[in-house]
Point group: C2
Chain length 293, copies 2
């Protein structure tokens, strides 16, 4: 049941992404490279959160689709740039060659730039042509700040600076809050704004987003390490993995698992206040805590 | 007289840029890298055009300042990314080490991303908090499209694809129109929109922008070649410079000079329609045709 609803939502989002990316202009390779990474098998977590919180507060998924797609374009650009040789230098993402492995570094940089820019093009176009300009602008403001130099990019820089040196739990939390948490929070708030949420509701969902985002980051660290362990037989809980501190290296595996459970419970408690309408997001929150990839 | 007004406008813009970039957040190196390239000695052509067309149509320079600054942030990001080793691999820009030479490739990529994002943050913030939301959104839409995958980035990709092969004048024009012309045109239109221009005026200024932008591109090619000639003694008018076709290589030097003069005259003729108020932009248009850097 939950699986079916999730699949439906993902299909709805994929259709939207495909429509927004049906650009047939020169030069072809640019549009191909943009589409390549957008359709390289993402879980669509952020856009699913976005349309789900819109529905949670009484809106329709249609109200949040453009905003959800813009967020996914911005998220995808960040992955393309993160994977670059000068950054994490990854050859594979979700089992597929990274953008620069397929199109070369120059096109990958530009395809990333283009997706970031396109996210804002979509938001601005929507705001310009909608009767709900003010809502879209409020959502766009959340997204822009979350993605920018005081959000995701700050987190990525701190991540880079933390390589090959141990950092404390505070720095680790700053890094993840900015690199990952900020855009997840923006997805949740932007959806709720598009659904017409009042300030009180936005405040509640902001707390929900904090718990969910934090749990997501700790889970990511655990999955990275379990993945590495399976691949290269590294000990779980070793202090440094790839020269980077993680929640597992700082807190240990058991404390990390406990933390995810605590945070997930708190997140779900907030959704209790939304009654029946909170059901899907509760299941999604649990699903994110239990995911194995 | 013209020099004084130009200097005043540039100072006004620099003050605005400085205020928008007075961000004191972590991590310091990111904000330092962003400021480094913004204050590395640009001519501020785009923001000067933006506030000048705002004044041309009866607005105040204050009305266009935020939009002008956003354009300069986006322009600066494009220079940082253009200079990267994977792109043009330039060590110097305007006589100063390029961003990646000072901060390394990873920070340069992220500082570029941050400036692009910040340009949109500024535009969205302004639209959200202004009584002139609709004008700002119209201006932001011009800028977003000009900077994106159907504008500047498309031009940059075509430029990359044209390396080491001769291209015709049509491809060359497509490349320059997108890489340089689009954002110049957007600067001119965005300023006029912020000044409250009607559709008829925007149409005239759109033609002005076409002539001015085209002349600017041809002039750039001439300056590149004269610069190269002085530096390395290369013949003027050689078919290929750095493996790239240019207007000079395709049309020859004399035809290129004639073309600049023709275009400049047409641009200035359009400004005649604005009477006294057109004086500064006429001088600027002439100045751009005669510039030696």
């Amino acid at each position: 049941m939950f699986d079916d609803i999730l699949r439906e939502k993902i299909e709805y989002i994929n259709k939207g992404l495909n429509e927004f990316l049906s650009l047939t202009d020169r030069p072809e390779v640019l549009f191909e490279a943009m589409r390549y990474s957008v359709f390289a098998g993402g879980k669509r977590l952020r856009p699913v959160l976005c349309i789900s919180t819109c529905e949670l507060v009484g809106g329709n998924k249609e109200d949040a689709l453009a905003v959800a797609c813009a967020i996914e374009f911005i998220h995808t650009y960040s992955l393309i740039h993160d994977d670059l040789p000068a950054m994490d230098n990854d050859d594979l993402r979700r089992g597929k060659p990274t953008n620069h492995k397929v199109y070369g570094e120059a096109i990958a940089i530009l395809a990333g730039d283009a997706l970031l820019n396109y996210g804002f093009e979509v938001l601005i176009q929507q705001a310009l042509n909608s009767s709900k300009s003010q809502n879209i602008l409020k959502a766009a403001d959340e997204i822009a700040r979350a993605a920018g130099c005081r959000g995701m990019i700050a987190g990525q820089v701190v991540d880079l600076l933390s390589e090959n040196r141990e950092i404390g739990v505070d720095d680790l939390k700053f890094m993840h809050d900015h690199k990952t948490g900020a855009l997840i929070r923006a997805s949740i708030l932007a959806g709720a704004i598009m659904g017409g949420a009042d300030d009180d509701t936005l405040k509640k969902l902001s707390s929900y987003a904090e718990y969910l985002g934090f749990a997501f980051q700790v889970k990511d660290d655990i999955l990275d390490i379990l993945g590495d362990e399976m691949k290269i037989g590294k000990d779980i809980g070793s202090d440094m993995v790839n020269g980077k501190s993680t929640f597992v290296s700082v807190l240990g595996l058991q404390r990390s698992v406990d933390l995810i459970n605590e945070l997930t419970e708190k997140a779900i408690n907030i959704l209790d206040g939304f009654g029946e309408k909170g059901e899907f997001l509760k299941n999604l929150t649990q699903y994110m805590a239990e995911r194995d990839s």
